[in-house]
């Protein structure tokens, strides 16, 4: 039982990271109906920027952890947003209104490009990082299995909850959120009503990229090692999470992220660690067969 709870805590932590990335996929899919394949690589870039910023801060001498975290968070969010914006501007905007596969291929190309760009600039070797936040609470000390909740896990889950709430508020309360929901429903009509569609789409990419950067930072903190290949797998799993939750739905993305995180953790804990990726995909296939719109997605009616 203790083991089960411990895995639950680990799974929720991992799921939070996936959820943050999944939001970017689901928003972009909702608004322009394309799979932003390069999103996983934005996450990768966010992770590398966080690592570098941590190292630089260490050299300058800013070691008070809350301040350092805040600076890293801001820097990685801002720079990853610029990447998100640039990717959209260069690779997707010229293809808007083109036939359906074109942006997807462009996105795959962008993903390959960014991954190799990072590899070229930062090297192919695994990059380790010293743990920044250590320690935690331990429950049931003395029994066979004690449950540990590290401070880092608390930070990750709290930060995710805060960002999600902020995000939900942006979507539901601000004029930008209204514009986004409008574009999602009908782009032409929104344009007629005076919404700058291009700008709204750009901002959607920027928001997704910022969240992916946060996920990247949390990933660096949590795992302590990154390499240039993490973007692909995390991206695929986050997309799986978005589909699982119902693509286009924000709570769905979070729920899907949590589920994928939990499935993966429990599978590795009770069955085999080698096949954890298989488990996540197998669940995805099952969900799609029995509930093709995902868990929280609205069924789509096809009209002639």
């Amino acid at each position: 039982m203790e083991y089960f709870i411990q895995q639950l805590i680990n799974g929720v932590t991992l799921g939070s990271i996936y959820g943050l990335i999944a939001i970017g996929y689901t928003m972009v899919y909702g608004i322009i109906g394309m799979i932003n394949f390069a999103h996983g690589d934005i996450f990768l870039i966010g992770a590398f920027i966080s690592l570098i910023t941590f190292l630089v801060l260490g050299i300058i001498g800013i070691t008070w952890i809350p301040l350092a975290l805040l600076i890293v968070l801001l820097v990685s969010m801002i720079i990853a947003s610029i990447y998100g914006w640039t990717v959209e501007r260069l690779a997707y905007r010229p293809l808007r209104g083109s036939f359906r596969l074109a942006p997807l291929i462009s996105a795959i190309g962008m993903s390959i490009f960014l991954q190799n760009y990072v590899q070229l600039l930062q090297g192919a070797r695994v990059r380790p990082m010293q743990p920044v936040i250590s320690g935690g609470f331990t429950f049931l000390e003395g029994s066979a299995f004690s449950i540990t909740v590290s401070y880092l896990q608390i930070v990750i889950v709290l930060l995710t909850i805060i960002l999600m709430t902020a995000f939900a508020l942006i979507i539901s309360r601000t004029s930008l959120g209204r514009a986004q929901r409008g574009c999602e429903q009908d782009r032409t009509m929104s344009a007629l009503l005076g919404i700058n569609v291009d700008r709204t789409i750009s901002l959607t990419f920027v928001m997704g990229a910022a969240l992916a950067a946060v996920a990247g930072m949390l990933f660096v903190l949590y795992y302590g090692v990154i390499d240039f290949y993490i973007g692909f797998l995390a991206g695929v799993k986050a997309f799986t999470a978005a589909v699982l939750g119902g693509i286009g739905s924000l709570p769905g993305a979070m729920l899907g992220g949590l589920l994928i995180g939990l499935i993966e953790t429990y599978w590795s804990a009770y069955f085999s660690i080698e096949y954890k990726d298989v488990a996540a995909f197998a669940i995805l296939v099952l969900v799609l067969i029995f509930r093709p719109t995902g868990l929280l997605g609205k069924p789509e009616i096809e009209k002639v």
Binding site: Y29, I35, I45, I49, L51, I52, L55, V56, I59, I78, I79, I82, Y83, W85, T86, L90, P94, L95, S98, F99, R100, L101, A102, P103, I105, S106, I108, G109, M110, S111, I112, F113, Q115, N116, Y117, V118, Q119, L120, L121, Q122, G123, R125, R127, P128, V236, F239, V243, E274, Y275, D277, V278, F281, L284, V285, L288, I289, P292, E300, E302, V304
Partner: protein
């Protein structure tokens, strides 16, 4: 003053140009400052940081200049009197060019491919690269059935390639079967997997299909990687037997009771024989794929694929079963991947999961889409360009994939429908010359 008069004549606003380039270079600065400016370095005690400000400066400056030139060209084009462009005539002209290219280009390509090994410049390296390119041509043609004809977005095509390769290697290892027996078996295995995967997922809409096939590709790879006892795991399988030429072995010395190719034809033994033989083998396999595709397009099932790609609802109301129709396309595409896979295994004599990563699927899909979906010649050209082109840059290993990704984006932005985009309608209600009742939506293909 000079500036002023210049402004008046050409109508180009230089301050706006400067501002635009300034913004672009600011963005470039933002992009470059952390990732380019700092480099993480390993030190014995941990990680350290090195700075590369010169690189950042170069990046920012080149973006500034590049944007300036781009904007200048755009503005000077716009300031000239607007030229009337007859879009329909342009479309027709490009259609004629593409058409001519397809009809003349095809036979020329095949002719060139047939004589290539006997050209004076064809050394080991050239034949080897040509074989490699032809594998991708074949894969591209195979995937073209799925993506180009049936309009199903398959991101896990490499899984079937892997199934073909491993099934040949395993059949040969466990049952001691020859290449020629295994080739159809490998195709069957791959097609079987195609049906197995396709049956549950082909009811899904396009993007879901993409992600499920991607997941399937990864699952196959992970299984190959971890099922150590059976597939050799990351070590792969080696010592895969080579094919024979009608029972004649292409080796230096024949095994008992058989002859080598060189002995039979009274030739001096040369390793080139095997390379050329493999080259022709894949050429024949690829042409077979091509021939099959061309023929099946004219059959009811091929027509059904293309109709399904254009409008699924219309097809359903006409009594076409979408799932079964898609399933045949999926299985046939998988079968050709299986053939190509078993050829790959016999050529390399060694396979490991390394060769079947997602990037391979992306490359094959890129070949199909860049070539202009559905265009057979286009796919061949794209394969030669992408695979042959990146092969030329093998020396610059690190930049190869970077350039590959960049090239994919650039071609898509430049020609979103691919290099040879025009597609002839499979069937014409009114022969050429007669006025069509409506505008033919010949080029409006693509995945719905």
């Amino acid at each position: 003053m000079m500036n002023q008069s210049n402004n008046n004549t050409s109508g180009i606003d230089f301050t706006a140009l400067l501002k635009e380039s300034g913004i672009a270079s600011l963005v470039a600065l933002g992009l470059a400052i952390v990732l380019v400016g700092f480099k993480t370095v390993d030190t014995p005690t941990g990680m350290d940081i090195a700075t590369r400000w010169v690189w950042v400066l170069v990046a920012v400056a080149s973006v500034f200049v590049g944007r300036m030139l781009f904007a200048f060209r755009r503005e000077s084009k716009a300031s000239r009197a607007p030229v009337h462009v007859d879009l329909e005539a342009k479309e027709k002209r490009s259609a004629i060019i593409v058409n001519r290219f397809s009809t003349i280009g095809g036979p020329i390509f095949i002719g060139f491919a047939l004589v290539l090994p006997f050209m004076p410049f064809a050394d080991r390296y050239v034949v080897d690269v040509a074989t490699y390119v032809l594998i991708y041509v074949m894969l591209g043609w195979g995937l073209n059935i799925v993506v180009g004809l049936a309009g199903l977005l398959d991101l896990g095509y490499v899984a079937f390639y892997a199934v073909g390769a491993y099934s040949y290697a395993l059949f040969a290892a466990y049952f001691d079967l020859s290449f020629w027996v295994c080739l159809p078996l490998a195709g069957l295995c791959a097609a079987g997997f195609g049906v197995l995967l396709g049956f549950p997922v082909l009811r899904l809409r396009g993007d879901y299909l993409a992600i499920v096939t991607l997941g399937f590709g990864e699952i196959i790879r992970v299984i190959l990687l971890n099922w150590y006892e059976f597939t050799g795991g990351p070590d792969g399988l080696s010592g895969i037997p080579r094919p024979s030429f009608f029972g004649l072995e292409l080796k230096r010395t024949a095994s008992d009771g058989s002859q080598t190719f060189a002995q039979f034809f009274n030739l001096d033994y040369s390793t080139m024989h095997r390379l050329i033989f493999l080259y022709y083998l894949i050429l024949i396999l690829a042409l077979l794929t091509n021939f099959f595709t061309i023929r099946i397009r004219k059959m009811p099932i091929g027509r059904a694929w293309e109709a399904l790609r254009e409008d699924e609802i219309a097809c359903r109301s006409l009594g076409i079963n979408p799932t079964n129709t898609k399933l045949t396309a999926f299985a046939l595409g998988a079968m050709f991947a299986g053939f190509a896979g078993s050829f790959f295994a016999t050529r390399q004599a060694f396979i490991s999961p390394e060769s079947f990563t997602f990037i391979e699927s992306a490359v094959i899909l890129a070949i199909v889409v860049l070539g202009g979906m559905g265009s057979q010649v286009g796919v061949a050209i794209a394969a030669v360009l992408l695979i042959g082109g990146t092969e030329l840059f093998r020396g610059l290993e690190e930049f190869r994939m970077l350039a590959f990704g960049g090239l994919m984006v650039a071609i898509m932005v430049w020609k979103p429908r691919g290099l040879l985009a025009h597609r002839e309608p499979t069937i014409k209600l009114h022969p050429d010359g007669a006025p069509p009742p409506m505008k033919q939506a010949a080029t409006e293909g693509g995945v719905k």
